[in-house]
Amino acid sequence: MKRMILLFGLCLSFMAAGAQNIFVSKATSITFFSSTPVEDIEGKSTTASSVVDIKSRNIVFKVSNTSFQFKKKLMQEHFNENYIESDKYPFSIFRGKITDDVDLSKDGSYTVNVEGTLDIHGVTKAYQSKANIVVAKGVITARTTIRVKIEDHQIKVPSIVFKNIAEFVDVRISATYQPKKS
């Protein structure tokens, strides 16, 4: 019986160690910019969520499309209804991996490559990007920008507003991770 307790304790400690690999960012900020000479459009969500496993270096981002806030509410309505079609595609998801061999359990500042797939508007496309990561006292902050060609995700822009919406949209992501509480 003593052996059993010992084994159980050992197991628990392993599990705890396992959970420490998982870092969660609750209030992840995702902002996109479309800039044309006619109009600048900016949408910002601060309720996206992200999880990173610092051991496998897998990383996932997920955002509710209706959570993007715009300067003009009517733009927000158009974004959801006509472009991103939130009824059909409620979430945008990035599933990727940090390809560089970094140990994010150690404090420091890192520039890493991230590769993965981005699912927007029901179309999944491969992306590669550089990200800046800062680790300090068990908190990981990460920042990156990816450039999305909206046509790649089959988001159609009618000719009447073609001049108002940029062909490429810059998506800025900023996340602050805490160890997952198990």
């Binding site: 084994l7 969660v24 900016e42 999880v51 959570s67 300067k71 009517l74 959801n80």
Partner: protein, 324 residues
């Protein structure tokens, strides 16, 4: 006795081993996604039940957003067919039964105030309308709130010169006589991304009417919108007033007309900020206080007409302009 605990120990060890091995292997992508916070907000509000604050004749549950100005021009032409229509009248385009130019402003996302000037389709003309629209309840995607409820109220003042005939609808003695009130409760539900309906019980009070015409009248309206493409939709609405049968028969006999319920069908086009309506309706008037109690033209007699409305929304919200 000793074999049994041993057997249990083996099973327990195996389970523990499984747990240990699970905790040692790093998370895969699908495992990671389970740790994601639920990013969808609770009781999320349904947006764009309708695209415009009006369907054809009636109001929708929609209001414009805070600091927005909605400029809208409505037009109703003459009868397309029937005795007053046809090629001679260029299918009604030679005549205009009513024109309305209106401005609505969003005090908040829920509260709108509006001002409009309309020609007026009956003898009650030169109308000035003041209105208030308040979004009481919004439908949510999880059906926590299954229907949207919006309140609409208007006061329309007729500026037309008072008639000397005391039995006429315009024999006004003072300003109070010229006032007309409309109250409506608009219930609406968006069933899916392309189909919405509305139900509008309402009450019209006219301070002064023609002899034996009703000052007070309850009515009910129904409307629907079905999207045919991403930016085009079919819209339809119907209004039915509840009349006093005796008064109705008297007025119909006196004026040689019949009262009809209004039916409108139309095409709605949206181009990011602009909304165009192209519609057909038997109602000659645009104001609620007029088309609900005073429609005397019938679809079956060819007394339907072209109508259009053009709406443009301007946003004056500069607060969030600063980039963070």
């Amino acid at each position: 006795m000793t074999t049994k605990p041993f057997y249990f120990n083996v099973v327990k060890c195996l389970i523990l081993l499984l747990l240990v091995s699970r905790s040692l292997t790093s998370y895969g992508q699908t495992e990671l996604e389970k740790d994601l916070e639920n990013t969808a907000p609770a009781h999320e509000k349904v947006s764009a039940t309708f695209k415009s604050t009006k369907l054809i004749n009636g109001h929708t549950n929609e209001t414009i957003y805070k600091h927005e100005l909605d400029f809208k021009v409505d037009h109703r032409f003459g009868d397309i067919a029937g005795s007053n229509g046809g090629l001679r009248q260029f299918f009604g385009l030679d005549n205009s039964t009513d024109v309305r130019i209106g401005f609505d402003y969003g005090i908040s996302d829920r509260l709108n105030v509006g001002f409009a000037r309309a020609k007026g389709a009956t003898t009650v003309q030169q109308l000035y309308e003041f209105n208030v629209k308040y979004r009481l309840l919004e439908q949510t995607t999880d059906d926590y709130v299954p229907v949207a409820v919006t309140l609409f109220g208007s006061n329309t003042i007729a500026a037309v010169k008072a008639s000397d005939d005391p039995a006429s609808a315009t024999a006004y003695r003072n300003l109070t006589d010229r006032m007309n009130y409309v109250t409506q409760i608009i219930f609406a539900r968006k069933f899916n991304s392309s189909f919405s309906v509305s139900l509008t019980p309402g009450y019209v009070h006219r301070n002064f009417t023609a002899f034996r015409d009703q000052n007070n009248m309850f009515s009910v309206g129904a409307g629907a919108r079905a999207k045919i493409t991403k930016r085009m939709a079919l819209v339809v609405d119907y209004f039915m007033p509840f009349r006093n049968k005796d008064d109705e028969a008297y007025l119909e006999q006196l004026n040689g007309v019949k009262f009809y319920n209004t039916l409108g069908v139309g095409l709605e086009m949206e181009t990011g900020g602009h909304i165009f309506h192209l519609n057909f309706t038997n109602a000659t008037a645009i104001q609620e206080m007029q088309f609900i109690p005073q429609t005397t033209s019938s679809w079956l007699k060819g007394q339907y007409r072209w109508g259009f409305s053009i709406a443009r929304r301007f946003s004056f919200d500069k607060k969030k302009d600063k980039r963070s």
